[in-house]
Symmetry: C2
Subunit: 310 residues, 2 copies
């Protein structure tokens, strides 16, 4: 297996910073790719062992390019997730003052996070979108624009300095990234895990989505993400990307997945992996009647009834 | 094991007629008991192999004495059910004419079924309740009352004649009887079976009963009877006697029972047995996603996901 990770490039973006927080990244070659699609394709073709891409953003929601790539094509599996707090620095060529800035640049995704700051401090600056925040920094270095919004870590790489740091419109703005590989046995549960699936409904009767969510609720499984994505079969046709609390080796999750498999047209398992937002000690207690022990006791009771021993 | 069946007596009632429709009754000694309770006690003490008692009546609903006996005490199990159409004959001493009848008698349960007929044909006759319809017939034989409502089959036994037959206020009036024994392995499924349970809720949050019914609905299990009975723990405290379509050896029923066992305070299994109302050929098709095959395929899929083979 190639010991390399593909990631959404270029170098010097939040994605690379997030990837480097993973211990396993230290022992791999890290290769930037120009798009989420090309990074995931590198995994599907075997060129890379895994790909590291953004999947959710606390300001904008699910990152649809990534979701759509996971929903379709050869099955992939999420191995890990990383949460990164996103705050921007305003990067300029050394010596530039705030009053000198006529043009600012960044990736379009940065805009909702710096909009208020811009209105307050640079109301007349012209916004120019770049392919990435790192690319915006490079264009500032080349003199094309006056300032770039990027991670503070990008300043050194492009010979810029941070005129301002900690810029973020939304408090606790975070981006969630995932390490995606080919299907394999999921890592053992840690006690604070999450399971991702894609669900296609069998039909569209009234209450169909409620019935589907009932499969989770009746086994005491809490949802963390429900994002609808068009199936491509016309207006009104959606599938659902779902993140749910728990691990496929939990009895309650296994039974939920079996129920979904029975009632849905199709279910795609995207993996069970450790949650980045909490540690096992912070996981909420399971609802009464939904622990592994209670599942096993109930199965044992039914077996006894089937045998006439009650 | 004693080869005798206890039944709710006396002889010559609808209960005895219903019991004699069971092939196995031909090889047993049939002993009448004075009450449902004493017949069931005969099973609990080992005096009788099984007891045959009425449990539901299409005019009046669940027969609470029987339900309460099954809910409490040593566990018992329902082996069989019998449905009997109930129509009454007006039994009189030979020679009696309609105009001669001043008093009529029957078990109180018969009254709602003959009320309209009485109003139309004997508006002035005085109603006298008897311990059973057979007892009413005996009292007519002894000259105590002028007429009794009972099964036509009781006429010969008491030297009476039927002045009128086929009396029934409600069309399709039926009584359901059950053969109850000690816990044992339920008979194999026939394809048209029913499963009876008693459910005690864990708590009384809003939607608690809906959640409980959702355990059946989400596995495509249809209910045939839902009768609440006081638990004896004060006003507002009820348990639920439930009859549901299917056999405990059906995957969907087994998973439903496991779910109920997990979410309920207590579940009492009362047996899986052939339905008397339909034959296997008339059983409704299972909902999509709830056949044994689909349960097994879903379990296999989850096992493959757990192994990384997807």
């Amino acid at each position: 297996m190639p010991a390399s990770y593909a990631y959404l490039g270029p170098e010097g973006t939040f994605t690379e910073v997030a990837l480097r927080t993973l211990p396993e990244a230290a022992t791999r070659e890290l290769n930037p790719y120009v798009s989420v699609q090309s990074a995931l394709d590198a995994v599907r073709t075997g060129e890379a062992e895994a790909a590291f891409v953004p999947i959710e953003n606390s300001v904008e929601g699910g990152i649809t390019t990534t979701l759509d790539e996971l929903v379709a094509g050869e099955p992939l599996m999420i191995y890990r997730e990383v949460l990164l707090s996103i705050t921007f620095a305003l990067l300029v060529r050394p010596g530039t003052k705030l009053a000198d800035i006529k043009t600012v640049s960044a990736h379009p995704a940065a805009q909702p996070q710096v909009r208020n700051w811009l209105r307050a401090h640079l109301p007349d600056a012209l916004w120019e979108s770049a392919a990435s925040n790192a690319d915006a920094a490079r264009l500032v270095q080349e003199g094309r624009y006056d300032a770039a919004f990027a991670g503070e870590f990008a300043a050194a790489r492009y010979g810029l300095e941070a005129l301002e740091t900690g810029i973020h419109d939304a408090e606790n703005a975070q981006t969630r990234f995932v390490l995606v590989g080919r299907p394999a046995r999921p890592a053992a549960p840690t006690g604070a895990d999450k399971t991702s699936v894609v669900l296609w409904q069998r039909d569209d009767h009234p209450g169909a989505l409620r019935d589907l969510l009932g499969e989770f609720a009746s086994r005491g499984i809490n949802l963390m993400l429900l994002q609808s994505r068009p199936t491509g079969a016309g207006i009104g046709n959606y599938c659902f990307c779902v993140d749910a609390e728990g691990h496929i080796s939990d009895r309650r999750m296994a039974e939920t997945l079996m129920g979904l498999r029975r009632v849905c047209l199709q279910v795609r398992f995207l993996g069970s992996y450790p949650r980045a937002d909490i540690t096992p000690g912070e996981a909420r207690p399971t609802l009464p009647g939904t622990s592994d022990e209670e599942f096993m006791a109930a199965a044992d009771w039914v077996a006894r009834c089937q045998d006439g021993r009650f």
